[in-house]
């Protein structure tokens, strides 16, 4: 696969909760090594879109290709697909009964069948990558929100995913802890990780995103580089949202 090819390719994606359609036919491409930033008002379907990408939600129609593999086709091996897709949640979702290292180790041992010592070495390396090797043996309750989210990032990275999905990674954090998480995300981008980020951190989007996607009411309104979306939006709806978001 070429370097500039789309790593994530979504076409005609629809999702319904009962009678309500929350995603109304989305087409989206995220290129390898790029950070795609998804913005939009709450309830617009941003998180749902992300959760379709590893089938935590079942799309009602459409196709999602990751690294050329159709993850929406019937009979797709979800567990194999999911370990290639790292996911970071708004509320961290660390396992409270395991240490930071234990959180990172679990899937390495149970999914990738690594030995305890192998898994331990990887866990320590990944925790080091997010600046938390000194906290490996602490439990989530002993860590700050920012530290917990960094452990969650390490947990996802440990499986060497092809792509990382971030679902409002800083929304549950106190303002002074947001920076440390964004710093880790920027370092990941510099390492060439392909990322899709749902977030309200507009300033971060401006400086770090390669592509910004504005979604409203289950549809993509506008897609473009950050300069376009934030400085020169082509659609009135985008203009209103950006003006309001930056007040």
């Amino acid at each position: 696969m070429q370097d500039d090819a789309a790593l994530l390719s979504i076409s005609g994606l629809r999702l319904s909760y009962g009678a309500t359609e929350v995603l109304k036919g989305l087409d989206l491409e995220a290129r390898r090594g790029e950070m795609t930033f998804i913005i939009g008002p709450s309830g617009s379907g941003k998180s749902s879109l992300l959760r379709c990408c590893n089938r935590l939600e079942e799309p009602s129609a459409g196709r999602i290709l990751i690294a050329g593999e159709d993850i929406t086709k019937p009979g797709a091996n979800l567990n194999r697909i999911r370990r290639r897709i790292g996911m970071v949640f708004q509320s961290f979702n660390l396992y409270p009964h395991m240490t930071a290292a234990g959180n990172v180790r679990l899937a390495l041992q149970k999914v990738l069948k690594k030995s305890r010592s192998e898994a331990d070495a990887i866990a320590m390396a990944q925790l080091d990558r997010v600046g938390l090797s000194g906290h490996a043996h602490q439990y989530p309750a002993q860590l700050s929100g920012g530290q917990q989210q960094r452990v969650a990032i390490a947990r996802a990275l440990a499986l060497e995913p092809a792509i990382m999905l971030f679902d409002e990674p800083t929304s549950a954090l106190d303002p002074e802890l947001v920076g440390e998480v964004l710093k880790v995300m920027r370092a990941l981008k510099d390492d060439g990780m392909t990322m899709v980020v749902v977030s309200h951190e507009m300033r971060f989007a401006r400086s770090a995103a390669d592509q910004v996607v504005f979604i409203a009411e289950g549809r993509i309104v506008e897609t473009g580089p950050p300069e376009q979306i934030f400085e020169n939006p082509q659609v009135q709806r985008t203009r209103d949202f950006v003006a309001q978001a930056e007040h």
Partner: protein, 221 residues
């Protein structure tokens, strides 16, 4: 007062009954070692089935749980030991007790563990599944350890009830602690062995009761 002491706290009688009572206590412990693990295992299956994604499995489980929670354990035991032989199924008293306790306790333990599973937020499951863990691995390594911890005081309390309920086995002539006390009482025409049995239950269960209280305390803080 004297009559009370001779009839209920007669040391001489107690000493005489001691070997028989000790055997009875041994049988009670043996019974507990069989029915508690059986009930916990059954309860785990019930809990997993009642949180299953299949509606048919959930409903079937709910009906069975309702039935076995509503039927008095003594009635169930008598039916199994006296009724089943008419269907050609003849169980030893020990097996009959084990079966009836399994049915009854699985329902109770199952409800407790289910409450524990339901206390674990969906985010935990989603995080586990997003790293490629299967549904079963997610239950085993992520959900159940937290769920069991959350309901540990209830599990211990229920276990204490189960231990006391093993005295029901006396009605099918299984020579556990209460049955032995009854035998001793009928041969000595003296109720002291019953008091003795009560004291033995107390000695057996008091540490468990304390443990349950301290657990509850610890989890609350």
């Amino acid at each position: 007062m004297d009559a009370l002491i001779t009839q209920f706290f007669n040391l001489e009688i107690m000493l005489k009954a001691w070997p028989m009572m000790l055997r009875g206590l041994g049988m009670t412990v043996l019974l507990c070692l069989a029915v508690i693990p059986l009930g916990l295992a059954g309860g785990l299956i019930v809990a997993l089935a009642s949180t299953s994604s299949s509606r048919a499995v959930r409903w079937t489980t709910a009906i069975l749980v309702d039935i076995f929670r509503a039927v008095p354990p003594l009635a169930l035991l008598i039916f199994i030991s006296a009724g089943l032989p008419f269907a050609g199924i003849r169980l030893s008293p020990f097996a009959a007790v084990c079966l009836s306790f399994f049915l009854n306790n699985s329902a109770y333990y199952g409800e407790i563990i289910r409450a524990g599973i339901e206390s674990i937020g969906d985010g935990q499951r989603q995080a586990a599944r997003s790293t490629g863990l299967t549904a079963l691995q997610t239950q085993a390594y992520v959900v159940l350890p937290q769920a069991i911890r959350n309901v540990l005081p209830d599990l211990v309390s229920n276990t204490i009830e189960v231990v006391k309920l093993t005295s029901l086995a006396s009605v099918v002539a299984f020579a556990e602690l209460l049955y032995s006390a009854e035998m001793a009482r009928s041969v000595t025409y003296n109720a002291s062995p019953i008091v003795m049995a009560a004291l033995m239950y107390l000695a057996l269960l008091w540490p468990a009761v304390r443990f349950a209280s301290s657990l509850e305390h610890k989890l609350k803080s």
